[in-house]
Assembly symmetry: C2
Homo-oligomer: 207 residues x 2
């Protein structure tokens, strides 16, 4: 077969990495985050640093052991740097957590209960990914409408997305440090950050 | 920081590869697939081979240039083999296509129009990923209810998901070789294939 992708072996694998600054950042912050606010503060800081380091959009996420507060994995948006529209913060955090635990089910029996902390409420794609991941709780900072206000696109979420998660036994906590999280979105917009999307002429896309 | 994930550098990157048999399979099939049926037949065959080779669930997907029928990338479900709940066929195909083209927007100006062909209608996560990818058309084989009938979980999709895509200018074509695609799902179930999910006790998960 003579087509380009076949000849380019790199196209047969997907590789996504966290930006280089993340490791040092986490080293300085420690391993356990006892309260909801502590976890969210870390994740908001990640979202802000991702903008400051110009490594992606203003979104961060993390997977924590719910009881102990141990951090299992974090994610930031790396859509632009990896040319990958799938690489939203929540997706990166979930995939890294599953890899770290060697299991595609973060809710598997005999394991600690896990929660996802996201600096902004999930877009339609990330929302769809949450039940598949096995996390039992989702903690959100900024609201979806805060992202929309900034110019991002949430996608087509079920009207009662919170209820849809809760009906699957996944608890949803909203508005944790919402104003701090929202401030990062606004700052990104004001600084002229790219509100990229696949249909630029029509609307901004969430990351 | 002494936590496990920090020490394990592998956890700072996500790597997903297509199974080894895919390359040879595509070599034999050529580069261009002129009709909808030809494209779907290739993708259904991928879904079937993924089961036969025991490399994942009964789902395949591909990104094609809509006009020329040139294949840009394919995906199969590799959730189990990579311990990654995100690694559905559509996600893998989209990410590989974007990587191949060096662009997170398959609908970018000056590029050919792209379409996603999926052996089964997308689950909630993959549905959410479609607008972000920039594909302008989605061609589906088996229906979501065929997957549910087999024991898989679709997730919480908007009730009019077809209309939601169309309102964004993304055409949706359903039921292309539906019975052939459905037969792969049924055979998988009958052969005792794993209907894995993150909440096994409650319901099967789509892949």
């Amino acid at each position: 077969m003579a087509c380009g992708w076949k000849l380019d072996m790199a196209c047969e694998q997907i590789v996504l990495r966290l930006p280089g600054w993340v490791e040092e950042f986490l080293d300085e912050r420690g391993e356990r985050f006892g309260t909801e606010d502590e976890r969210m503060r870390l994740i908001i800081e990640l979202s802000q640093l991702n903008v400051e380091h110009r490594t992606g959009g203003p979104f961060g996420a993390g997977v924590f052991e719910q009881q102990t507060g141990r951090i299992v994995a974090v994610g930031v948006n790396v859509v632009e740097s990896y040319n990958c529209s799938i690489a939203h913060a929540e997706i990166v955090a979930i995939a890294l957590a599953e890899q770290s635990l060697g299991c595609y089910d973060l809710g598997a029996e005999g394991r600690p209960t896990h929660e996802l902390v996201a600096s902004t409420e999930p877009c339609a794609m990330c929302l769809g990914a949450i039940p598949w991941s096995g996390v039992r709780r989702v903690v959100c900072g900024a609201r979806g409408e805060d992202a929309v206000e900034t110019g991002f696109d949430e996608g087509a979420k079920p009207s009662d997305w919170v209820g849809a998660l809760q009906s699957r036994g996944i608890e949803v906590v909203r508005d944790v440090l919402r104003e701090e999280a929202r401030a990062v979105l606004r700052k990104y917009r004001e600084s002229g950050g790219l509100i990229y999307n696949a249909r630029r002429a029509r609307r901004g896309q969430r990351s």
